[in-house]
């Protein structure tokens, strides 16, 4: 057990791993300002997650203004975008974790992200970003061919050329 882990906590909350233990304490102690639970009945991505950490507003503004077309933004705008981003992350992470679970994996890998993105029309704009991620070897063929740029051919042509070439190359 790594040093610094409070043995009392881990004895009480047997379900929590040491890593998640710290964040559990953080969630209980600190309640971020302006971040409230969705109690009005809107089931956002199923679970009601309370996020206490926030994105740096200045950084978001910079990313927004990296686009030359974008001019001025009102002060409230990056704050609002930050919230939207938070919701987006919750949605994407939750769905990716579900994909990992469906594949009996405790580790959410890039492939699970790719699957989650492929399965939700809301995430269509991300398909290019994850196109570079290799497909799982024996994955169920749920994703459309449009996603797989290589057409799903996993066997590389180079592995076939191991045979000695009949023709001599100069």
């Amino acid at each position: 057990m790594p040093p610094g882990v409070r043995k009392d906590e881990s004895m009480q909350d047997a379900d929590y791993m040491p890593e998640t233990d710290v964040s559990a304490t953080v969630t209980e102690k600190t309640r971020g300002k302006g971040v409230k639970k969705e109690d009005n009945g809107t089931p956002a991505a199923g679970a009601e997650v309370n996020i206490t950490v926030h994105f740096p507003v200045a950084r978001i503004k910079r990313i927004m203004q990296a686009d030359d077309d974008v001019g001025k933004v009102a002060q409230v705008t990056p704050v609002v975008v930050s919230k939207a981003l938070e919701l987006f992350m919750v949605s994407l992470v939750t769905k990716s974790a579900a994909e990992a679970k469906a594949r009996n994996s405790k580790r959410v890998g890039a492939i699970h992200l790719k699957q989650a993105i492929a399965n939700d029309p809301q995430f269509d704009f991300l398909s290019d970003i994850v196109a570079k991620v290799a497909d799982a070897p024996a994955a169920t063929e749920k994703s459309e061919d449009a996603m797989d740029v290589d057409g799903g051919k996993k066997r590389k042509a180079s592995s076939r050329r191991k045979k000695k070439a009949d023709d001599d190359d100069f």
Partner: protein, 143 residues
């Protein structure tokens, strides 16, 4: 040839630690579940793309509205256009909270108004205060 550009030119990325913390908070309900490092970096790219997408859409909406500044309404409309309707209630709340915070800040401004003096008078009063302070500084022996 670098396939993955983490920051691009101006480090237009999100802090990894912050992202990691949020991911951990999201996965609290799934004990034992971890997010691989490459997944996290990929996630960050997706986040930046999301911001860019929303900004671009909101910017267009603002332009159609003949406005040079992207306001809250433009962002709201952008989210609706992009099929993120379910995010709207939450951001409305955030915007309302923000307005409240700003209002409280402005209350400090009204103190200046309540002093009964015009801005010119206030400036003059301030200059006099400075002058007095400077004189005091020069006349009194240093330490």
């Amino acid at each position: 040839m670098s396939d993955r550009e983490f920051g691009g030119n101006d480090d237009l990325s999100l802090p990894k630690a912050t992202v990691q913390k949020i991911v951990t908070e999201i996965l609290q309900s799934e004990p034992g579940m971890t997010f691989a490092k490459d997944s996290r970096d990929l996630l960050i790219e997706c986040c930046v793309e999301f911001i860019t997408l929303v900004s671009s859409e909101a910017n267009e909406i603002a332009e159609k509205d003949a406005k040079k500044t992207i306001a809250f309404e433009h962002v709201q409309k952008a989210l609706e256009e992009l099929d993120f309707h379910d995010y709207v209630p939450a951001i409305l709340e955030v915007a309302a909270d923000y307005k409240e915070t700003q209002k409280n800040r402005e209350k400090k401004q009204t103190k200046i108004e309540q002093s009964g003096m015009t801005e010119e008078e206030l400036i003059r009063a301030q200059e006099e205060l400075f002058r007095n302070a400077t004189n005091k500084f020069h006349s009194e022996p240093t330490s």
